[in-house]
């Protein structure tokens, strides 16, 4: 009797999990399949595989829809900003977590986690305008690097504290200077922490919309989320074009997520501890 109860409980458990996985996954599958259909087929054959694969949708999205330009901008901006964040956050964390442990500065850096970015939007817009760098990728490199520092320092300082201090003391005695200790000891030993903050910063940059919407108006510098927004405004009834544009935006993040799943989850949920 108990066994039957256990079995039916197990069946129910897997049924719930499989069904909810479908609910989580299917919307993306639908978009990707629809990106390979023409507009009529999206309507007439909503759930099936495409009858003839319309790769031309991607060509149209890439050229007419400007997703080619947007894609390159997103790649450049995400990689460069992430690189900058990783290096300067590691330097800050080494400074306030190791060379001169400083709790006040640590708190100062991490309060940024609690500030909603919308509260910074108007002053940042004015600042970028006054700096004369509106409509440049540079504006986003700066803003994205700066807004990702707080979380990165929060994650990295606790990571650096787990590295035995005997290591850099020994290096110091051997005559290494602080820069050498940083590049040859701390940075390499922090790799798992750096991977976590890097993946998190990369996703934040790839997905960011409001700053880009306010700082970039020139089509030549627009990122993918801006591309989606303008496509939705202009060609909303061209659903296959929309779906192809969405796929160009979503599929790279998904591949990224599949490759770095553990780091992505660790990074994105690290803020939860902070609350």
């Amino acid at each position: 009797m108990d066994k039957i109860k256990d079995q039916s409980a197990a069946v129910l458990k897997y049924a719930v999990l499989i069904l909810s996985s479908l609910v989580a996954l299917y919307p993306f599958i639908w978009v990707i399949l629809s990106s390979l259909k023409d507009n009529f087929e999206i309507y007439s054959n909503s759930f099936g595989l495409p009858q003839a694969y319309q790769w031309v949708n991607y060509y149209k999205a890439w050229t007419v829809g400007k997703f080619g330009v947007n894609f390159i901008n997103s790649v450049l901006i995400s990689f460069i900003s992430t690189g900058v964040v990783v290096i300067i956050s590691a330097m800050v964390s080494y400074s306030i977590g190791r060379i001169k442990p400083n709790n006040a500065l640590y708190t100062f850096f991490t309060i940024g986690i609690m500030i909603p970015l919308h509260a910074l939007l108007i002053p940042t817009f004015i600042l970028i305008k006054n700096m004369g760098i509106m409509n440049t990728r540079l504006s986003l490199y700066l803003v994205y690097s700066a807004t990702n520092i707080s979380m990165s320092v929060f994650i990295l300082v606790s990571f650096i504290k787990t590295i035995p201090s005997a290591l850099d003391e020994a290096a110091l005695i051997e005559g290494m200077n602080f820069w050498q200790i940083f590049t040859k000891v701390i940075f390499p030993l922090s790799k798992p922490g750096l991977a976590t903050i890097g993946t998190l910063a990369f996703l934040n940059c790839w997905n960011e919309y409001v700053y880009a919407a306010v700082l970039i108006a020139k089509p030549a510098f627009k990122t993918l989320p801006l591309g989606i927004a303008s496509l939705k405004g202009q060609y909303f009834t061209d659903y296959s074009l929309m779906c192809a544009g969405l796929a160009i935006t979503i599929v790279p993040v998904m591949i990224f997520y599949i490759l770095f799943q553990e780091q992505v989850i660790k990074g994105m949920t690290a803020g939860a501890v902070k609350g």
Binding site: S46, A119, I265
Partner: protein, 295 residues
């Protein structure tokens, strides 16, 4: 010698700190301070700033659009709390109960979290389309055509249509946090309880749930602060319209700043968002601490 080393350390610490601190001051702390300042001036972004004291706030609190957007945020908070926290708990618990392939399930359920809210919102705009959209087509296929709706124009359901993708998207986020906390419950506790004859319901309600209270608190805080920050889904799907019917405070703030060029009022809205989020976090944490169970 020691003194010299200290001096060296100070100099190195300052040099390593400088680039990060500079960027952080310039683009995070500086703007935060200026936000406060702008909320006390009347300014369209180009002309002269006129100091008006708390006039922006007074105007804001008498402004019906502010309260509509505020209530939309409150509704989003309530819906997130009712839907996200319990379903995340159920999923986490199902994964926790010796489930084969739990890593794959966890990975799939977390997947929507990594996608941009703008992309999710645009996706759902297509799904809501009354002709080709997934929802109406699905309802037709299930012979439930009477439930078909104009999801984004029927004023009765518009706001909920805008909320749905956001609530859906972040269930996996809460699930992962709660699952991690469940996994850290010591196995001996569960084992000794089942030796003592506790059934699985007993284990769930007497052991897992109470031990999860701390992380559920975090989930609640994240629901509230996350809902206060909500922007992308509403903006991309409806621009917060018609009127401000599907606007959240952030959307109202954005429209007021960048469509109406009213930087003063707009800053006052952002300050309200910041204060609400901080106030809730502090008050709730204090209240929760008092009711927390000590082990």
């Amino acid at each position: 010698m020691v003194k010299e080393l200290e001096k060296l350390k100070n100099r190195a610490a300052a040099l390593f700190l400088a680039p990060g601190l500079g960027l952080y001051l310039l683009f995070v702390i500086g703007p935060l301070i200026f936000s406060v300042y702008y909320s006390f001036v009347k300014w369209n972004g180009v002309g002269a700033k006129e100091f008006v004291g708390i006039a922006n706030y007074i105007k804001l609190y008498k402004f019906d659009q502010f309260w509509i957007a505020f209530m939309n945020n409150m509704k989003l908070i309530i819906v997130s709390l009712i839907v996200q926290v319990p379903s995340a708990f159920i999923f986490a618990y199902l994964l926790y109960r010796n489930t084969k392939g739990y890593k794959a399930f966890r990975a799939i359920l977390f997947l929507p979290v990594v996608v941009s809210p703008i992309a999710i919102g645009a996706m759902f705009s297509i799904f809501y389309n009354s002709e080709i959209g997934l929802f109406n087509v699905l309802l037709d296929a299930l012979h439930m055509g009477s439930l078909k709706r104009q999801w984004l124009s029927d004023p009765k359901i518009l706001l909920y249509s805008v909320m749905a993708p956001q609530v859906w998207q972040f269930i996996g986020y809460h699930m992962v946090i709660q699952f991690a906390a469940m996994q850290s419950i010591p196995h001996q506790v569960i084992e000794s309880a089942s030796i003592d004859g506790a059934g699985s319901t007993g284990i769930l309600f007497r052991i897992v749930l109470p031990m999860m209270w701390d992380v559920i608190q975090i989930s609640i805080i994240l629901c509230v602060t996350g809902s206060l920050k909500a922007f992308g889904h509403s903006w991309i799907m409806t621009q917060g319209g018609p009127g401000v019917r599907s606007s959240y405070l952030t959307v109202l703030m954005f429209r007021m700043a960048f469509l109406e060029r009213n930087f003063g009022m707009s800053s006052a809205i952002s300050l309200n968002i910041v204060v609400m989020a901080l106030l809730f976090t502090v008050v709730f944490k204090r209240m929760a601490k008092r009711s927390s169970i000590e082990y």
